[in-house]
């Protein structure tokens, strides 16, 4: 006969070797209790909390069941673990304060039991009850108490016994409050700023809440509706996130394209239209100037001519002035209202998703300022893109909307499921690539990505893309400006230039990452960091002054990418398409042709543009305005790719018969497409910068709508990743995470050193470990300990001499609980004994005891001191631990926190371990 511990909420659970169980409870109350146990079967079947993680709760049961049959050993009595108790209210808390101990009359000895053999059967609540009544239940309070008194005597023989819970904690009703809020101690279950979350604890809390709702479902129709609402709230939440993300993306796209054109001129009859939209229904336009009668450039507005040196200078000045205005506005808004809105946000989102708390990073102000600032900074012509920040914006929306659903808003681990889906929606709208978005979330940003989240991300990305598509921001029936449609074949030989492009891309990316990190580090540790607005203005000024003369840098970067991706047809009037073609033969397709002088001029301009963009992006990424680097890196790669493409094309034109082309280029039709090279090059640089592979290829082929280019894109992405990995270990996001010292334990890295847990744990030799004893410290003792040490959590032991581990208590919870007890309970003084878990046979003499068993985590993860660090690091990664306790011969020896692990990893990699920011 076994005891299940996690449903002994508020009740005492006993593990008794005999088949007789004794109880003073009335059957009706037992029914309640047992009903709650019927869902325990879910526990083992529930999804694992982390990628390939072992559920903590499950393992706890295991140990109980293993020990159980012997009856006399094992956990004689298991009190509720902290995980269980977090969600319990009312009665328990009263007792936790010690006030109502022994005052509830008929409730001693409420407990439950069931047969082990049925543990995994699909027994319903009824069958448990039936089984319960078949068991002989005898009322005998005294014998129960005897049992309780006996068990402590066995303590010494056994490895580690869970101490008894005082009888006062035995309760007749079980009140879950997962839905309304956790408990009456405000703030329990939340975290401080810059702390890591405890995935295990949060997942367990959610499981409790879920069970409570399922249990309540049978009570009334209203509860049934509430249960149904809870079940679908995840989907509703991602639906809302998708809708909002799509709408916000539409606003950004329209706003940014209008404001970008404001630098060049205005549409006086309808000022809200950009140049293309202004000339949209103009009946007579040529490509010569790109202008129509409705659109006025600034010199024209001022009454001058459209052409000529005077007009050029006026345009130049207007361009610079507008750029400066936009950049200044963006920077000062960011500085004033939401400092967190700067940058791309992806490194921080990665860190947050790995279980770190940065308060306000995903808040309303950040959202508003990021949206407005993004429109402004994109319009200012700086070398930056809106794609990365779009991920941040979507995550902000996810965070804000999750507060509508307590299931997600109040549980940090669950909230991250929504954030993962939101990140997918962000990329989905940024590139019009829903599947690419899901894969991006999976490959690049998410830490914990179960299948359920995959489906939600899929749905969220779908909705977001659909909404954006129906807004149709660019009037081209697509959600990105640079959508191109390709349907040209490629020949086998071309794989060589594609791989070459991958290598070039990897090199460009490495140069970019190294230089950018160097510059960011310089900014961080020098006086430069104190003048963020000035820096933005200087960078903008330099960019504008240099960019204007070159038509390829003057134009919007998205338009440049579109131009480079496009193939030269009749509709393309750019010098890049100045081929000596003739259009006379109606039936022949556009074939390869000798490049005209315009092409060669364009190539020189593109080379200059490449250098300028590379240098400017290095200085731009990291300044204090919202800025992403997808678009600049795509542009860099597209320029390089287009140049290579033109080279190969001309090679094929001049020597069509050489063996390389295996005769396929002799006809001259559909042979080499420079636009395809631009696309492959763009993928290569982006892949090198971010180290994405799968998601990158999918994004690129969703952008082009051509499945046949998967192999070229894969080849380039792979080559660029290899080259990038060989030249520099980290992608740009990881490098920025390391630079900022975020406590991010990369699940992709491997730990290859031979150290042991004992080498890493705190305290080191000659230091003492701060511990709390389970039932002998007073409130004053505990407060002194809290004042004198700065640890975030304390192990609870049986006594300082024995150091037998009882559990783990968090500093924050301890603070809150003591403050709460002082406020709400009478008779708590500095001399009150704090009891976390006790034998229960101490007389409750005045001053009264303070029972804090509710905040005690009685199932902390432990390792022995000889455990290799490889295993420990794996546990931290896969279980999402916050800390683990180290034992030796069953006695507590020390603690390993995530910070210790990160420090150790840094130390082993010969990096400065003090750079890790950690609380």
């Amino acid at each position: 006969m076994y005891y299940k511990n996690n449903h002994c909420l508020g009740g005492v659970c006993f593990l008794i070797g005999s088949t007789e169980l004794q109880c003073t409870e009335t059957p009706v109350i037992l029914l309640n209790v047992l009903a709650s146990t019927s869902f325990h079967g879910d526990v083992d079947m529930e999804r694992y909390p982390l990628k390939s993680a072992v559920p903590k709760m499950g393992s706890t049961y295991q140990s109980v069941y293993k020990k159980g049959p012997n009856g006399s050993n094992g956990r004689g009595l298991h009190s509720p673990t902290e995980d269980d108790l977090v969600d319990i209210t009312a009665g328990l808390q009263q007792d936790a304060g010690g006030a109502s101990a022994n005052t509830t009359p008929t409730n001693h000895g409420t407990f439950q039991l069931y047969e082990h053999s049925q543990r995994n059967s699909n027994a319903s609540a009824n069958s448990y009850v039936a089984q319960y009544f078949n068991t002989s239940i005898v009322q005998c309070k005294d014998s129960l108490l005897n049992e309780m008194a006996m068990i402590p005597t066995e303590l010494d023989n056994e490895d580690l016994l869970e101490p008894l819970v005082p009888q006062g904690d035995v309760r007749d009703t079980i009140i879950f409050s997962g839905m309304q809020g956790d408990d009456d101690i405000p703030g329990i279950g939340q975290y401080d700023d810059f702390h890591t979350i405890d995935w295990q604890r949060d997942i367990a809390r959610d499981r409790m809440r879920h069970r409570y709702i399922v249990k309540k479902r049978q009570d009334s129709l209203w509860d049934l509706i509430k249960g149904a609402h809870d079940a679908w709230s995840g989907w509703v939440c991602v639906l809302l996130v998708g809708v909002c993300t799509g709408m916000v993306a539409g606003v950004i796209d329209i706003g940014a394209s209008w404001m970008t054109d404001l630098k060049f001129g205005i549409c006086p009859q309808a000022f809200w239209l950009n140049r293309e939209q202004c000339c949209w229904s103009d009946t007579d336009t040529t490509f010569n100037t790109g202008n129509c009668s409705q659109w006025l450039t600034w010199p024209q507005v001022l009454g001058g001519k459209h052409e000529g040196p005077g007009a050029y200078i006026v345009s130049y000045l207007f361009y610079i002035v507008w750029a400066l205005i936009f950049a200044a506005l963006s920077a000062s808004l960011v500085r004033m209202f939401a400092p967190y809105a700067c940058g791309s946000g992806i490194p921080e989102i990665k860190t947050i998703l790995s279980g770190f708390i940065i308060r306000g990073y995903l808040g309303k102000w950040t959202l508003i300022i990021k949206v407005v600032g993004l429109i402004l900074s994109v319009s200012s012509g700086l070398s930056l893109g809106k794609e990365g920040p779009m991920v941040h914006i979507a995550s902000c929306l996810g965070n804000i909307l999750s507060y509508l659903f307590p299931k997600y808003g109040r549980n940090e681990a669950k909230k991250r499921e929504i954030l993962s889906a939101a990140a997918a929606a962000g990329v989905s709208v940024a590139f019009g690539a829903p599947i690419g978005g899901v894969l991006f979330s999976l490959e690049e940003v998410s830490y914990y990505f179960p299948l359920k989240t995959l489906w939600r991300s899929f749905f969220c990305a779908l909705i977001a893309a659909f909404i954006l598509r129906s807004i149709n921001p660019f009037g081209n029936e697509h959600s990105v400006l640079f959508f191109v449609e390709y349907n040209k074949p490629w020949i086998f030989f071309e794989l060589i230039p594609f791989v070459g492009l991958g290598i070039i891309g990897g090199c460009i990316a490495t140069i970019f990452i190294k230089a950018n990190i160097y510059w960011c580090r310089y900014r961080k540790y020098s006086k430069l960091g104190q003048y963020p607005v000035t820096e933005v203005l200087v960078v903008t000024l330099v960019t504008a002054v240099i960019a204007y003369p070159n038509p390829y840098t003057r134009m919007n970067t998205s338009e440049l990418i579109y131009l480079l991706f496009n193939q030269c047809g009749i509709s393309n009037a750019d010098p890049l398409c100045d081929y000596n073609r003739n259009f006379t033969d109606v039936n022949s397709a556009i074939e390869k042709a000798a490049a005209g002088p315009g092409v060669y001029r364009a190539i020189w301009l593109l080379v200059l543009a490449l250098i300028l963009k590379l240098v400017m992006t290095i200085f731009t990424f990291g300044i204090k305005v919202p800025c992403g680097l997808f678009i600049p890196s795509l542009a860099l790669g597209a320029i390089a790719g287009r140049i290579v493409g033109i080279g190969v094309e001309q090679l094929a034109y001049h020597y069509p018969k050489i063996w390389l082309f295996s005769g396929e280029c002799s006809t001259g039709d559909d042979c080499i497409t420079p636009g395809l090279y631009a696309m492959v090059g763009a993928a290569a640089v982006l892949g090198g910068v971010t180290r994405m592979t799968v998601s990158l290829v999918v994004i690129m082929f969703e952008l082009t709508g051509g499945v046949r280019y998967i192999v070229p894109l894969m080849a380039a992405a792979m080559a660029s990743k290899w080259v990038g990995d060989a030249l520099g270990r980290q992608g740009i996001y990881d490098a920025h995470i390391a630079l900022n010292g975020y406590p991010f334990l990369d699940s992709k890295d491997e730990f290859q050193h031979t150290s042991l847990a004992a080498d890493v744990m705190q305290p080191k030799r000659n230091e003492t470990l701060s511990v709390i004893t389970q039932d002998s410290m007073t409130v004053d003792d505990v407060e002194t300990l809290l004042k004198e040490t700065e640890h975030n959590g304390y192990p609870v032991v049986v006594s300082k001499e024995s150091q037998y581990l009882v559990g783990f208590v968090l500093r924050r919870d301890l603070n809150l609980a003591i403050a709460n007890a002082k406020r709400t309970l009478d008779g708590i003084t500095g001399q009150s004994v704090v009891i976390f878990a006790g034998t229960g046979n101490q007389p409750p003499a005045p001053p009264q005891c303070l029972h804090l068993n509710r905040i005690l985590d009685m199932a902390p993860i432990t390792v022995t001191d000889q455990t290799p660090m490889e295993t420990v690091v794996d546990m931290f990664r896969k279980l999402g631990l916050r800390q683990t306790l180290v034992t030796h011969n069953g006695r507590l020896l020390g603690v390993i926190t995530k910070k210790d692990v990160l420090r150790h990893v840094k130390q082993m990699d010969n990096e400065d371990p003090s750079s890790v920011l950690f609380n």
Binding site: N582, L816, L917
Partner: protein, 177 residues
């Protein structure tokens, strides 16, 4: 204040939207053709660059014959059959109302934020003074769990504009575990 402002701004946005008549069409047929000179290999033609023409015709009539040829008859004469296959015609939709509303909202939001920022900058000296006076009690009232938080915040608040730097700096100065 926010409610009022928001209401004001929506009223303003929508009156602008309604008062303006549709001066711009929402759909078009766009045809891009090479210049006739290039197609006909007419060396006399000076301008060889392609051109574009839009017309407001129903989608099923969106083709070269309907949109382009009526304007070209004299140039092309009898060689229309050679010219038209070179043209690309596409029917396109847009929604000017959405563009208008979005752009106006963006302008309003930016203006509001700028005004609010100016307001805060003007108010900054006042806030600063009061913050310094009431700072001590403030920390005591607050819960002790955020030790050092408020003091840092207020200390760095000397200038409203400095809050960014402060927030950024807060990151590296984390407490020890």
């Amino acid at each position: 204040m926010y409610v009022k402002l928001t209401a004001l701004f929506f009223v303003a946005a929508f009156t602008t939207v309604i008062s303006q008549a549709h001066s711009y069409e929402d759909n078009r047929c766009k045809c891009v053709c090479p210049s006739p000179a290039a197609v006909l290999n007419d060396t006399a033609g000076a301008d060889r660059s392609p051109f574009m023409k839009s017309a407001n015709v129903p989608p099923n009539k969106c083709n070269c014959e309907v949109v382009i040829l009526p304007f070209m008859t004299d140039q092309l004469k009898d060689r229309q059959q050679e010219f038209c296959p070179r043209c690309e015609c596409k029917y396109e939709n847009r929604n000017t109302t959405i563009i208008k509303v979005v752009v106006i909202i963006v302008i309003w939001v930016i203006m509001l934020l700028v005004v609010y920022m100016g307001f805060l900058i003007c108010l900054d000296p006042l806030i600063n003074k009061r913050a310094k006076a009431s700072y001590q009690e403030h920390t005591n009232e607050d819960d002790e769990s955020t030790l050092g938080g408020p003091s840092q915040q207020l200390g760095a608040r000397g200038n409203v504009l400095n809050r960014v730097t402060h927030q950024q700096d807060r990151t590296p100065t984390g407490q020890v575990e």
